[in-house]
């Protein structure tokens, strides 16, 4: 085991720490790479007939992004290992830095560092995209454009939607999945730690690339990027495409890595039947990521070709079809919906038994529910295209499969209710968030049934009803589970305690304000307000004003959360007690902070994670496993 710490000599001046493979170098080389790429692209474009006719050179932008990303990843040190392998050096894990602040700013293969990096990235851009939402709601105070020009408004909508999709896809699986999965299965690391580290830096780069659209004229398509509207758009569209390619690649790699980890790295005795449901949920999510995100990446690569090489995939006049993009996009887009839901259910079912002091009710059913959702979600994508004019004969099929998804989703609700029933509930903040999450998702899910049924979808498609529905599932469901996970695992991940009072205030304000913000939008949709419109009918102004004001307050309550995070993490730094929730989870049995290699020796798992109240239940793991092989059944 390579645990040797490479400590810097004390005589070295502090600034020398900045030189080397780290974020700073990555940013500098990224900028240099972008400049070189844009210059090269300009040269190439000058030589091409079809570019010469236009004043916009997409080749320069894409090449700039490509070389910029090469510089960025190179500066972070991601090419060192591949190059050493090219030269025949055997596998090693030199990046396994163990100490110091520096490791948070460079490629680090410690999954706990990656988890923290993810958490910070997600929180920062969650607030950026949330601020976007505030600007959107400000504009919607009036029924016609008043604060932002109409094109700026659309760019705001696109930035908010795309950034949230990118972030929320990683919101739970990134920070908590990476941090906890190896610990929960009794492993020392992920199966592919460099890939793991790469995904977090991709997740950082994607929103930044996306934000660059603002400087390139914005993009008008929202997060769905439909053509031919995208073909009309400015160079800002290139930022959207590049950012989404990055995010899609990251999703694929996260899924790949998590599946490999759970398949191969489980400690002895960690049978599939003892796997914590949090891990099961990430496995189901990882399947979706691995299989659906490549389709998105390909679709966007075709869009790149359409914009640079005159291919005609997505324009109808020349042998292509806008429907092709819609199909490819939603083939990813629907599994994506469950990439945005399943991790949250994992958090909920993981946390419920701890605070109910009971075993999880119906473990097998929960696993079946998650895998059932994952399997079905590949067969439903055309419900987004019920009125689009394709495949009318298949509509009953997609209606059936979509509605069938509510069956396995229902499994998870009865798991929750069964666990709550006759519990000895301790109503701590994480449990409050879980209950609110399930409530919100219930509304989101039930409203989804309206959209799954073609006749009612004809009324509701493309209206604010859809927008309210997806915010109930993503923010109300996954977002609330993110808070639950944060309040539950923060003491473990940082060794610090947060302000409990502020957390409770945050809960009540965010729960009430979330519902007062988004519930009226169902009504706005039913009363024929189309999504993404900067102008709307004047009789809808009262609803919109109410929603905007409620949204500002909601933003304020999110700020309470931000204040709590910063205060507890950076300022107060009040140490937390070990295992404050008296959880049986393996992660809580380890010392805080968790040692670099998690386990001194690989543990042997001898009991399930949720045996609360079981007479004579063994502790989950026996740490003194002697030299047993890893990962076996």
């Amino acid at each position: 085991m390579q645990t040797d710490v490479i400590a810097a000599p004390a005589s070295r001046p502090a600034w020398r720490g900045l030189i080397g493979f780290n974020l700073l170098t990555g940013i500098v080389l990224g900028i240099v790479g972008f400049a070189v790429g844009a210059w090269l692209g300009g040269m190439i474009g000058d030589g091409l007939r079809w570019v010469g006719q236009s004043d916009e050179n997409d080749i320069a932008i894409f090449l700039g992004f490509a070389l910029g990303l090469v510089g960025y990843f190179g500066g972070l040190g991601f090419f060192n290992y591949p190059i050493s392998r090219l030269l025949g050096h055997p596998p090693s894990l030199r990046e396994y830095d163990s100490e110091g602040w520096g490791r948070y700013f460079r490629m680090c293969t410690d999954h706990k560092v990656v988890g923290i990096q993810y958490l910070v990235v997600i929180l920062i851009f969650f607030f950026v995209a949330g601020f976007n939402a505030m600007m959107i709601r400000t504009e919607l105070l009036r029924p016609s454009p008043s604060i932002w020009p109409a094109d700026t408004y659309l760019t705001l909508v696109g930035e908010h939607g795309t950034m949230m999709m990118v972030l929320m896809s990683a919101a739970v699986i990134g920070p908590f999945g990476n941090y906890l999965i190896p610990i929960m299965i009794g492993a020392r690391r992920m199966a592919f730690p460099r890939i793991e580290s790469m995904t977090v830096w991709m997740t950082l780069a994607a929103p930044i690339v996306l934000l660059s659209a603002i400087g390139l004229g914005g993009f008008p398509t929202g997060w769905t990027g439909y053509t031919p509207l995208a073909d009309q758009a400015n160079l800002g569209m290139d930022s959207y495409i590049t950012a989404f390619i990055l995010a899609g690649t990251a999703l694929t790699l996260v899924g790949f890595n998590i599946l490999a980890t759970v398949f191969t790295m489980r400690a002895p005795g960690m049978t599939w039947g003892r796997l914590p449901l949090f891990v099961w949920a990430q496995v189901a999510t990882a399947i979706l990521m691995l299989l659906s995100a490549p389709v998105l990446v390909t679709a966007l690569l075709l869009a790149v070709l359409d914009r640079t090489a005159t291919t005609t995939f997505f324009t109808s006049g020349n042998g292509g079809s806008p429907y092709l993009f819609e199909n490819l996009f939603w083939f990813f887009g629907h599994p994506e919906v469950y990439i945005l839901a399943l991790p949250g259910f994992g958090v909920a079912l993981e946390i419920l038994p701890v605070f109910c002091r009971k075993p999880l009710w119906g473990y097998g059913m929960a696993v079946a529910g998650m895998l059932g959702i994952a399997a079905l979600s590949f067969m439903v994508w055309q419900h987004h295209l019920f009125v689009s004019g394709i495949n009318a004969p298949l509509r009953p099929f997609y209606m059936l499969t979509t509605e069938l998804i509510s069956v396995p989703t229902g499994f998870l609700f009865i798991n929750a209710m069964g666990t709550l029933w006759n519990a000895r509930m301790r109503l701590e903040v994480p449990l409050l968030f879980v209950l609110a999450q399930l409530f919100n998702f219930l509304i989101g899910g039930l409203s989804g049934i309206f959209l799954s049924d073609t006749p009612s979808d004809v009324t509701l498609h493309g209206s604010y009803f859809v927008m309210a529905h997806l915010h109930y599932t993503i923010l109300g469901g996954l977002g609330f589970s993110l808070f639950a996970a944060f309040y539950y695992w923060f003491p473990k991940m940082t060794g610090l305690q947060y302000n409990m009072r502020l957390a409770r205030i945050h809960f009540w304000s965010v729960f009430i304000l979330f519902n007062t913000t988004f519930a009226p939008l169902f009504a706005a949709g039913i009363l024929d307000m189309p999504r993404r419109a900067v102008t709307y009918a004047s009789y809808l102004q009262p609803i919109n004003d109410w929603v905007s004001i409620s949204a500002f307050l909601l933003g304020g309550s999110m700020l309470l959360f931000g204040i709590n995070v910063v205060y507890s993490w950076a300022i107060a730094r009040k140490p937390a007690v070990d295992n404050p929730w008296h959880s049986r989870g393996i992660e809580w049995q380890l010392p805080t902070p968790v040692p670099v290699h998690n386990f001194e020796r690989l543990p042997v798992i001898v009991a399930g994670p949720y045996d609360y109240g079981v007479p004579g239940a063994l502790p989950v793991m026996q740490p003194e496993a002697a030299a047993a092989p890893a990962g076996g059944e």
Binding site: M1, Q2, T3, P82, R85, L86, L87, G88, H89, P90, P91, L93, Y96, A187, R188, R189, A191, F192, P193, T252, G255, F256, L259, A260, F263, T264, M265, L290, L291, S292, P294, V295, V297, T298, A299, L301, L302, L305, D306, A309, T310, T311, T312, F313, S316, G317, N318, G319, G320, S321, Y323, L324, N327, L328, F331, H597, L602, P629, A630, G631
Partner: protein, 204 residues
């Protein structure tokens, strides 16, 4: 005892299994990556929008295509020879055959790039032309990635030198697992390339 060897801070058995599981998962991801191209092909072909799917003047150059796919198939066959040689511990045959397989993959990639210059139609000449350029490009990218992977295996075995001969050693077991995993993906990619060839050059 070999099982106690640690590679990358982890028990070697886990590392060996990672190659097996990782390569299979990678195939699963690639299936969906290629599926998007195949779907584009079949979808645009069946729509034939504005009768612009495949104008008669667009002819995929079958000579080049055959050369490319032949290089890939031969590479897979030579790789099989290399792999069998490694299993029989004939290290020098392994080294040469692996090198040839690698060079053949590179040759296929080079031929593909030449073909683009000799195409006779532009990517904008209808749905088929677009799909042709994109799908072959999609295969090309994967072939280059696989060539890189094969090169790392080959280079590792060269650098490891004679220590490889001891089949109980960790390095050797890792290499064997690596070769097995690469083989699974490479056979899959070559099969996809053959199917792509059939669709693009003969179905059209």
């Amino acid at each position: 005892m070999a099982d106690q060897q640690l590679i990358e801070g982890e028990d070697i058995q886990a590392a060996v299994r990672n190659y097996w599981v990782g390569s299979r998962l990678w195939i699963a991801g690639l299936v969906f990556y290629f599926l998007a191209f195949a779907f584009s092909f079949l979808y645009l072909r069946s729509l034939n929008a504005n009768h612009m799917w495949h104008p008669a003047k667009v002819q995929a150059p079958a000579v080049w295509g055959t050369a490319i796919v032949a290089a890939l198939v031969v590479s897979a066959i030579v790789f099989t020879i290399a792999r069998t040689a490694l299993e029989r511990n004939s290290l020098s045959i392994w080294r040469w055959a692996a090198l040839v397989a690698f060079l053949l993959a590179l040759t296929a990639a080079a031929l593909q790039i030449v073909e683009y210059r000799e195409l006779g139609f532009g990517p904008g000449a209808g749905g088929f032309a677009s799909t042709f350029v994109a799908w072959t490009g999609g295969v090309l990218v994967v072939v280059l990635g696989m060539a890189y992977w094969l090169e790392t295996i080959w280079a590792t075995s060269i650098r490891a030198g004679t220590t490889l001969a001891d089949t109980s050693r960790g390095e050797r077991r890792m290499l064997a697992a690596n070769v097995e995993g690469f083989g699974a993906v490479w056979y899959f990619v070559v099969a996809v390339a053959v199917a792509t060839y059939g669709l693009l050059y003969w179905v059209g």
